[in-house]
Symmetry: C2
Subunit: 514 residues, 2 copies
């Protein structure tokens, strides 16, 4: 199990077939392999040694795919950076992982001064965008043009494939260490259901590639030897056009993207008949949206995947037959590679229908958090990955996710940890105490909402809080709405009772009670 | 990756669905899991400890499936015995692997005295057949009825799953050590093509279960949570009836079985429309047979698998689309989990179209031969499994197997090593020198044929040679025909030139020249 194996196989079988399509630029498998070998050679010449981390901060592109292959080819470790992060968060993750080499595209090159200021140890920056490389960066294309190709290091199996940073409950991101075997377990196990992906097909990268959801799709497609179509980031028209033009067969989307596609006034004008498989994750899909999506994509099977970065990332799958059976509120059943249980605080399985914490076990479970032995031991206690999600399982093994024990908000498909936002909001001089919760939102699924108790005689507006927060954390984490309160409901030990706060917004809904 | 994982998953998801159908006996997943846990408990009570080998000598049955699950459940190692072997060969393999516990059914119980005589260290024999347990054996059903269930040891990953004996070039069988990860690599990698197996389907065990080809099918079906139908051994009517009665969707057959099915006068009277996937191996299929088989099984896709026990066992696959394209003479293209190359004696890849030795690399490659470090190092030199098969690859990555470098005959789907037969034939008092080769045979694909140079003044008949050989080796290895010769073509170093001998029978055919 090497991330690069599928590339070797494809070069042997179909060297002249197109592997990547990015705008008007296409590359065959043979061309891609040559570029990967050269870029790996360039990395080695730059001093990247076995196990060194190489980061990438960029929108989707064919070069992102080359990066995912060239880094293991050079015996190094991936570190794809969350494109929604602030420079402070990026600098933190680069420093935490000791990453010395960063690839950055033209969109994010503007963040370089701020990142460098906060992380001066960044020695090498490679500009992988279009246009000339800015001062202080190396040109990706020049490195490939001049790099001497090297042999694939054949990094694989239980060796580290990458460090994937994810939001932390403590307010700091944690680096999830995944091996090649972890990533293959999830990809191949999901594929074994027979519901996913089209052999010889074409996969559209529209969800951000730094995220493990799309990366799992990437790995599956590489393993099958299919082709990849890239659009830089989600845009309804670009997505519809790409599907029609390249006869795309498979893609991973989040429900909000599906909704924006079905809502687009021109959607019906495109030929979307090639799409055979849509995987979606992060949140359930509404019945009304699904019905319209099934009309728009007449030949597509829909599969919901539930999981997390620590699970590489798939734990359960809700397949097309489950969708047909109307089981939309479930996150599906354990994937073939994953054991999933619902347990009480002592780790004992609870009866079916009873809410507890969702835990998972299998070869897809992360090796651990980078440099965080205590958090690792806590998360993996008893040999099970503790997801922090509350849920229950029905008699037929269908899992229902009902609450997030870790106090996390899922907004527009992104995980936002309340603690992190609370830290940022509380740093505002007018704020005495605050509590951040997710509240229902038509567009985002959940919206980041802050309840704020101000210092006596002071006040603050939503706009001020938002502007302030964005200097510290990513924009998508900043509260989209606030409520000034006179007092916070607290427990006997002084802990804010968030459940009470949430109930005002959610009431007796699915999210709270089953 | 545990052989038992799929059972746990199925018990969680569909405890009351039927897992096994053996004649009129059916068992649900919950029942099967209970029996497996009890039999594992019984094995432990009998003193079976971590890593101990437990053998089984039996025709196909639901108990064979339970054995495959209970042995790893008890933290032990499988050793399925070739049912075509002589007692001497069986005793050799039990002694070589230090196996103390043997399961035997009513068909093979008669061999026990001869096995025990040659291997007195066999301490425990469990009778897993129907009817009462013969003296000196324990009853499988009694052990299950009285055994206390134990927790699954969760043996898996890189731990040894089994020792699978295969014919040896030196005349002695070699024990191929395969890990759980090896077996999963082959099963999941083959499944990834999308051409194999039907989720929620039903698999018919008709090829012998001791053989890795059927065991790979078993593991795939266990992983998918489908059901298993067993017939003791191949019989055209029983096969046709089982497919119709149990709506079988998938099976593994060898070409001679397919031929016997299509040739059967009553075949057309059965409803065989459920069959969706037929995997066949061991030899190519003739165009005429395939065409008739496609008519008999109107909904079945045909896939040829090429490999060997040492490759767990799949290296290449020729899928339904390849069959439709008329590529029947090829063994297919490398499976997603397998790298395959054709190399010269120095291990360098030869140009496409040039004959060399077929080698393979990947997670499916055996750990090694049991207690045979030198043979292991030789077979795995350079990190590639050397198959001993000659072949070439075309420009599109299709592999063609043209000759067996290891001097092996494939007769009726079984591997026969010439050296082993030559040893047996040469032990006859009339034989001075002999050479054993495979010759073309309508029924068997290849027939074991002996060229014999007798001692002066002596002679021998085919029947005498055959009777004599069968006292030493399995019946299928004994020569089916002989030719008395006056002289053998030998090389300068005195080595018999088998190529010359073969050419008399094969001429300028595919097997020799491409």
């Amino acid at each position: 199990m090497h991330l690069t194996r599928g590339l070797h196989r494809a070069v042997q079988l179909n060297p002249d077939r197109v592997m990547t399509v990015d705008g008007t630029r296409t590359r065959t498998f043979a061309e891609a392999a040559d570029r990967v070998a050269r870029f790996a050679g360039a990395l080695r010449a730059l001093g990247v040694a076995k196990g060194d981390r190489v980061a990438m901060l960029a929108l989707n592109s064919d070069r992102f795919s080359e990066y995912l292959l060239a880094v293991p080819w050079a015996d190094a470790v991936l570190n794809p950076v969350n494109i929604r992060w602030s420079p402070a968060e990026i600098a933190y993750s680069l420093a935490d992982s000791g990453t010395k080499v960063l690839l950055v595209d033209q969109v994010f090159a503007a963040m370089l001064p701020a990142i460098r200021e906060q992380y001066p140890d960044l020695t090498t920056v490679i500009h992988c965008g279009d246009g000339p490389a800015p001062q202080g960066t190396l040109s990706y294309e020049e490195l490939i043009a001049t790099g001497a190709p090297i042999e694939d290091a054949r990094r694989g199996g239980d060796e580290l494939a990458g460090i994937f940073y994810t939001g932390g409950t403590t307010g700091f991101p944690k680096g999830v260490m995944l091996t090649h075997a972890n990533l293959f377990a999830s990809a191949m196990g999901s594929l074994a259901t027979g519901d996913l992906f089209t052999p010889g097909g074409s996969y559209l990268h529209v969800a951000p590639m730094f995220h493990l959801a799309d990366m799992c799709g990437w790995l599956t497609e590489v393993t099958l030897g299919g082709s990849h179509v890239f659009i830089p980031s989600f845009d309804p028209v670009a997505t519809l056009r790409a599907i029609q033009e390249h006869r795309v067969t498979d893609s991973l989307l989040v429900p909000i993207m599906i909704q924006l596609l079905v809502d687009h006034p021109d959607a019906a004008g495109y030929d979307l008949s090639s799409l055979a498989c849509i995987v979606y994750g992060a949140s359930p899909i509404a019945q009304a949206v699904l019905e319209r999506a099934m009309k728009l994509f007449p030949n597509a099977g829909f599969t919901q995947a539930y999981g997390m970065t620590e699970l590489s990332p798939v734990a359960t799958l809700l397949g097309p037959a489950d969708h047909a059976a109307g089981l939309l509120r479930s996150a599906g059943r354990p994937a073939p590679h994953s054991e999933v249980r619902v347990v009480d605080p002592e780790g004992n399985e609870v009866p079916r229908g009873t809410v507890g914490e969702i835990v998972a076990r299998g070869d897809h479970v992360m090796r651990g958090y980078w440099n965080k032995p205590e958090e690792t031991a806590e998360a993996l206690r008893g040999g099970w990955m503790h997801t922090g999600d509350g849920g229950y399982m029905d008699e037929n093994g269908y899992l229902f996710v009902v609450d997030r024990l870790k106090d996390m908000i899922v907004s527009g498909g992104e995980n936002v940890y309340s603690a992190e936002v609370e830290n940022a909001v509380a740093a505002h001089p007018a704020v005495a105490t605050c509590a951040v919760i997710g509240v229902p939102d038509q567009e985002w699924g959940e919206r980041v909402h802050a309840l704020i108790l101000c210092h006596p005689g002071m006040t603050v507006t939503a706009e001020e809080i938002r502007t302030h927060a964005k200097t510290l954390i990513a924009g998508y984490k900043a509260p989209r709405s606030i409520e000034l309160v006179e007092a916070m409901p607290v427990s006997g030990t002084g802990k804010i009772l968030k459940r009470e706060l949430r109930e005002r917004y959610w009431g007796d809904t699915d999210r709270q009670v089953h």
